[in-house]
């Protein structure tokens, strides 16, 4: 019988060292810690970069305002696990296989029982002269992109003209890099050696469509072009020369020609490496030394290195399994890809190039709409083998899992549009169809997480199965599977607003409207519980306001409003507010401009033109708001409702009154629409736009409701927005006369106000609406639900009951009293603010500036008392 000491010995964990801190290493540690319940292994992770593993695939989002921290992968509490040690900024220098130790660049010697090489790749740099000049970059790490940005910004300042840039390499990474340059407002050219873009993913037809789409975004493309030299000027890149064609003036060059496995640790300790690099592993990811494994891009598996994260994740799972005594093997890589490059959808899956003999190709190519779609079918046109989608890849999520299976319908039906893709005939996924290829999750596993795992929503299924947690392209399909499964098992998919209400916003709206309820206390007493929260209170405040039942600060209703609605201004980061007067259609008189300028000057406010063609005044204290409004109201202005979930602006171009090309009076219509819908409370903010001709200078298709003039009237588009998920509005109706147009917008808006979810913008509402845009069109144009008269009446009530919320408060001493600084000292100004001057205007001081005492003033010094 073993002694107690022996048993303890046996239980003390073995030690795993992981070299390389990329996404695949993180996945290995997650998988190991999730499954190793007995604590058999402790792990040390050596990260050469000064940060924990992050989402390298999302690197380009760094340029659209995301911080490096936002790229962190998963929860950070894994690093607090006592069995996990993260060493940042530490590189492995050598491996002693006999002693089973790793020596770091700092000279530390780490013993291991098992070692995993996850060192990834180098960004390859072609041996062209001039590659080392300043201004030449690769695109691999957060530091690379940070250096790139700093360089572009520096050059822009120095040159005082737009920066010019080029990307060498028109593959996946090259187009990512081009997107980054474009986000930095660099005039960008992509140089590709092959005869088309993304030669590994798309065919000639797809490449041509991609080129057109990318060029339409202002990025130049030079295919079939070899870079022969980069010319420097005082050590800085200035020109590129090619084997053929004109040279190109450039201020920045990015090399994105591919990657090279970082296998030198393995070479140095005598492990087998492939002919073209990569640590040779078997289908268990084991190297020639049974204590050493290799995963991710550095692993040469089945004779090749794989530069995608999905197979890397699979390898990580296999090694975790093997370390715990399992027998997992690599099933072969799914090299399917779906990407949004420069805003252009590109997907490639299965046998995309019809390499298997006897394949039939079904191709839809529409250069006008900017789409190219191809399905590769078996010779009997039944079984899907692969495909390429450019310009619109909505069908990807539904099609990729069907590779190798019978489609059960006309293949062309899958390509004809987003509406048919999801609901194409016979698409009932088999249990073993892979839905999430990044994390290798099958339809069966997703269904099982609902039926047996007890998951009741998408978030739960994501946490449980990891489906959709990497690239996210499969999420629509996952959501559909989850909802179907929940409904099948009789679980009602919860649409409860919050812990206080079991009803959804739309149900609540109907209840309040039909029962004629007018106070929160009545509503929560009859349909809810408790005393509400920051979710349900603003929703009910908004519903009551949409129904035109009086001022938003009347009586108990004041307690429902978020601070913005409560003080009818927009809260800023330092606790001050901004004020936006309405400027309908963006039309303003010189007197109006002067008046706004004088108000800003008098109260020391920072002024900025908004995206909605009006003027925002920042830095007013709460106790100053009534005085600011008073000055504005006296000059003929009113609230612009910039603070509300309500109509914001109706943006317009100058239209036919001045413009040589305008065909209708867009400004006149925009003003009429803005005055009609001003103050209309809605589930989310509403933005409208009116363009006077098809040139679309008002960007109306980026709005919830967009109107574009035609020779015969107006085209009406709905469901567009900017923001986090930009959407183009879709055509609802064509060539409407003005009366029909207004009536249609009335009904569309009121129908949305009544039936959308909380904080659901029109785009998502249209998408979620049963039957989609066609069903909504039937409701608003053909009165398919028989509610059109009701919607029209509701808009009429809104128009008749409109009052300026600012003026109403100014004439009500009881409401005005809420704007004191302190309840016990209403005349003492809050002294917590601090401002510094920047470009001739005040801005909030940073904590460092406040600590350093460089304030020009608190607001108390600048303002009128």
């Amino acid at each position: 019988m073993p002694s107690v000491a022996d048993m303890l010995q046996e239980q003390s964990p073995q030690h795993l060292v992981v070299v390389g801190g990329g996404m695949v290493a993180r996945r290995l540690i997650d998988a190991l810690r999730a499954r190793d319940e007995a604590g058999q292994w402790s792990v040390t992770l050596l990260c050469e970069e000064p940060r924990a593993p992050y989402d390298r695939v999302a690197l380009t989002s760094y340029f659209t305002g995301r911080h490096p921290e936002d790229l962190a992968l998963g929860g950070q509490d894994i690093w607090d696990d006592p069995l996990v040690t993260l060493k940042r900024g530490v590189k492995a220098d050598s491996i002693d296989r006999a002693a089973r130790t790793v020596t770091t660049n700092g000279g530390a010697v780490l013993p291991y029982d098992a070692l995993v090489l996850a060192t990834g790749s180098y960004a390859a740099v072609p041996p062209v002269p001039g590659k080392d000049l300043r201004g030449a970059f690769v695109y691999r790490t957060i530091d690379d992109v940070a250096d790139l940005r700093a360089w572009v910004e520096k050059r822009r300042d120095e040159l005082d003209r737009p920066v010019r840039g080029a990307v060498v390499g028109g593959g996946l990474l090259g187009l990512e890099a081009a997107g980054a340059l474009r986000a930095l407002e660099v005039e960008t050219t992509v140089v590709e050696f092959a005869q088309r873009l993304m030669p590994l993913q798309v065919d000639d037809g797809g490449g041509a469509a991609l080129k057109r789409l990318i060029e339409s975004l202002g990025v130049s493309v030079r295919a079939s072009t070899a870079t022969s030299r980069i010319v420097g000027d005082r050590g800085v890149v200035s020109k590129m020369e090619f084997s053929e064609g004109e040279p190109l003036d450039v201020d920045v060059v990015i090399f994105a020609v591919g990657v090279r496995p970082r296998d030198e640790l393995a070479r140095d300790c005598g492990l087998d490496v492939g002919e073209r690099g990569g640590v040779v592993v078997d289908d268990a990811c084991a190297t020639t030394d049974p204590a050493i494994w290799a995963i991710g891009e550095v692993a040469n598996i089945g004779g090749r290195c794989l530069g995608l994260v999905a197979p890397g994740y699979t390898m990580a799972e296999i090694v975790a399994d093997r370390l715990l005594g399992g027998g997992g093997t690599f099933p072969g890589a799914d090299l399917s890809t779906k990407l949004k490059l420069l805003g252009v959808d590109v997907a490639s899956f299965g046998d995309a190039f019809a390499e298997e003999p006897g394949g039939l190709e079904v191709v839809i190519s529409d250069p006008v709409a900017g789409v190219y779609k191809k399905l590769v079918m078996s010779d009997d046109a039944r079984t899907l083998r692969g495909g390429i989608l450019v310009g619109d890849a909505t069908a990807y999520a539904a099609l990729r899992p069907m590779v190798g299976r019978e489609l059960g319908g006309d293949p062309a039906a899958y390509l004809l549009g987003p509406d048919t893709a999801g609901s194409a005939p016979g698409l009932d996924l088999p249990e073993d169809a892979t839905v999430c290829s990044c994390n290798n999750v099958t339809a069966g596993e997703i269904r099982c997480s609902v039926t047996e795992g007890g998951c009741t929503d998408l978030a739960g299924v994501k946490a449980c199965t990891k489906a959709g947690t990497s690239c996210g392209s499969c999420l629509p399909l996952v959501k559909k599977l989850v909802t179907t499964e929940l409904e099948k098992s009789g679980v009602e998919v919860s649409s409860a607003l919050c812990e206080h209400f079991d009803l959804s916003r739309a149900q609540l709206f109907d209840v309040v409207r039909v029962q004629g309820l007018t106070t929160f206390s009545e509503i929560i007493a009859t349909h809810g519980r408790g005393r509400g929260c920051d979710i349900c209170k603003p929703v009910i405040g908004s519903i009551l306001a949409s129904l035109g039942t009086g001022h938003i600060l009347e009586g108990e209703r004041a307690s429902l409003q978020d601070t913005n609605d409560h003080v009818m201004a927009n809260l800023q980061k330092d606790g001050s507010y901004s004020v936006v007067p309405r400027i309908p259609g963006g039309e303003i008189t010189p007197e109006g401009l002067i008046a706004i300028g004088e108000v800003a000057k008098e109260f020391g406010l920072y002024t900025k033109i908004t995206g909605g063609q009006r003027i925002d005044l920042f830095g007013a204290r709460i106790d100053q708001l009534p005085a600011v409004w008073k000055r504005l109201v006296d000059n003929g202005f009113e609230s612009g409702h910039a603070y509300g979930k309500s109509l914001r602006t109706v943006k317009s171009c100058v239209g036919s009154t001045w413009c040589r090309y305008g065909v209708q009076d867009s400004v006149g219509l925009a003003i009429a629409l803005e005055l009609r819908y001003r103050g209309l409370r809605s589930p989310h903010k509403l933005k409208l736009g009116v363009s006077g001709c098809a040139r679309e200078c008002a960007e109306a298709r980026g709005k919830d409701v967009g109107v574009i003039a035609t020779d015969n009237g107006w085209n009406l588009y709905v469901g567009g927005n900017g923001g986090f998920t930009p959407r183009h509005a879709q055509l609802l109706a064509e060539d409407l006369d003005t009366d029909t147009l207004v009536r249609t917008i009335d009904r569309f808006l009121m129908y949305y106000v009544r039936t959308a979810d909380r904080l659901q913008r029109t785009a998502a509402w249209v998408e979620d609406h049963e039957g989609g845009l066609d069903a909504i069109r039937a409701v608003v144009l053909e009165d398919s639900l028989g509610i059109a008269a009701d919607l029209d009446a509701a808009v009429a009530v809104h128009v008749d009951s409109y009052e300026d919320e600012w003026a109403a408060v100014l004439s009500d001493p009881e409401k005005l009293r809420r704007f004191g600084s302190f309840v016990n000292a209403p005349d003492v100004a809050d002294d917590s603010f601090g401002y510094v001057a920047e470009r001739g205007q005040p801005r909030p001081a940073t904590p460092e500036e406040r600590a350093g005492g460089v304030l020009i003033a608190g607001t108390t010094l600048e303002v009128r008392r």
């Binding site: 408790g530 509400g532 929260c533 601070t563 809260l571 000292a825």
Partner: protein
């Protein structure tokens, strides 16, 4: 009726177990289920009057943003706890204890709280220590 009591002056004859009670305002000055900022002994507090006319005092400074805005949050309940949600980034706090009930993905940070008594329609707060 509205009572204003000087901010730096304690109210005589009201000292109880707490070292010093300061009359701040009348209960009527506080709107039900809403907050109000108060300046007590040079410290900014947020006073809240809940549905049952209880009054709570917490720090006015939102610990997550550093702005002095807590009084402008939405008052509600979470289970039995009376709550306020920060108007800045919507963290939710228990008004009784200051405990952060929902940190919205951040590390929870509590609010400082002060004892409050309502006597004869006047709201009294225990003198806060300067520096909060």
């Amino acid at each position: 009726m509205s009572i204003r009591v000087a901010t730096d002056q304690s109210t005589e004859g009201l000292a109880t177990a707490h070292s010093e009670w300061i009359g701040v305002c009348s209960l009527d000055d506080l709107a039900p289920e809403r907050g109000a900022a108060a300046l007590v002994g040079g410290v900014q507090l947020a006073l809240f009057r809940t549905f049952d006319d209880s009054v709570y005092a917490v720090q006015q400074r939102d610990p997550f943003s550093g702005a002095f805005v807590m009084s402008r949050g939405i008052v509600g309940t979470r289970g039995a706890a009376p709550t306020v949600a920060s108007p800045m980034y919507k963290q939710v706090f228990d008004l009784r204890t200051g405990e952060c009930l929902d940190a919205v993905g951040k590390e929870p940070v509590p609010l400082a709280v002060w004892p409050v008594e309502v006597r004869g329609g006047v709201v009294f707060v225990a003198r806060p220590e300067v520096g909060t």
